[in-house]
Point group: C2
Chain length 195, copies 2
């Protein structure tokens, strides 16, 4: 970064969000200073306030964008059709999507507590919307007699927790490919809901 001054609004904004996402995920929201984010981007701390009114809003924007991406990506990926096929699609989609953006997933689970009440409610609503996508599949399958679930709401939460857990251990270049992980989890999920 030899350049010292200039006008770069179109690239600086995304670079700030990228840097904040990485640093927040690595060290925690409270542990990261605006000065650190600015240093990562290559600007001075004051310049960040051209792109966000304050630190919390920067966090909120990251979480909001992640949840919007998640919902849009699933709605585009949903294969439709029979509940078993849709469930398999969901399992493989969730693992793949989350492994592609581990920092955003981690932030979404860990830093909600740093949001004010209104921002918190907005993210929670998006999360519940996503959960409902899966719950609908389970309830359809239950009604059709292909799944046997005493409680579809709890099954929804249990499956999502299990799938999201992949992010805590998966490492690129490890023993298993992403596709192999999808196979293993689909095997367990399929059996766990079977009639």
């Amino acid at each position: 970064m030899a350049r010292k001054t200039g006008s770069h609004s179109e690239i600086t904004g995304p670079r700030i969000r990228d840097a904040a996402l990485k640093l927040f995920a690595r060290h925690g929201f409270a542990a990261v200073s605006m000065r650190q984010i600015a240093a990562e981007v290559g600007v001075q701390a004051g310049a960040l306030y051209l792109y966000t009114p304050d630190k919390e809003t920067l966090l909120f924007d990251l979480l909001k964008a992640h949840m919007d991406d998640l919902l849009a990506a699933w709605d585009a990926d949903d294969p439709g059709g029979a509940p078993v096929a849709r469930l398999e699609g969901f399992v493989r989609f969730h693992i793949r999507f989350n492994l592609e953006r581990p920092d955003a997933v981690f932030l979404s689970y860990m830093e909600l507590r740093n949001l004010g009440a209104a921002n918190f409610a907005a993210i929670e609503a998006l999360r519940k919307t996503y959960e409902t996508r899966l719950e609908t599949i389970l309830r359809d399958g239950q009604g059709a007699g292909v799944f046997a679930l005493p409680d579809t709401k709890i099954a929804t939460l249990a499956i999502i927790a299990m799938l999201t857990g992949v992010n805590t251990w998966y490492r690129e270049g490890g023993r298993l490919s992403r596709a192999a992980v999808g196979d293993l989890y689909w095997d367990m999920v399929r059996k766990s809901v079977a009639a």
Copy 2:
């Protein structure tokens, strides 16, 4: 707290750990100051340093105590016997133990990144030890032909993630009792590993 001075080493130490656990879980390690912890206990910030050399060690002691408790409690609770019975015991134990101390569970998953390398390695080793307890059960059942698991290590991690997820949604006095939650999760786990 009308009292202002005095000698209370036996009660102040535990009270500091209780306050730190609660505040770290609620707001995050980095977001909580030593002054806040001291205020919660009813002493001045400087007095905390009679009980811990620094803030990170205070966090480490909380995480270490939690993992030691977890391992000791399971070893005392393990019913032994056939793999299916042991697995059911593990599922019910894990849910019950974690629901009794949500703050410590949350801290153990979220604040490891605030430890130095040596402290981090110590906690990680204890976690792996706990995982091995479950993996051994799964491998025994696989060998006996009562479980069908393509990958016992991944199944171990998947089951623990699913069970620990209970802490993210369970609320005392809600729709389900703890025992009912145990029933629901055991139903899903049992089927997911079935031969």
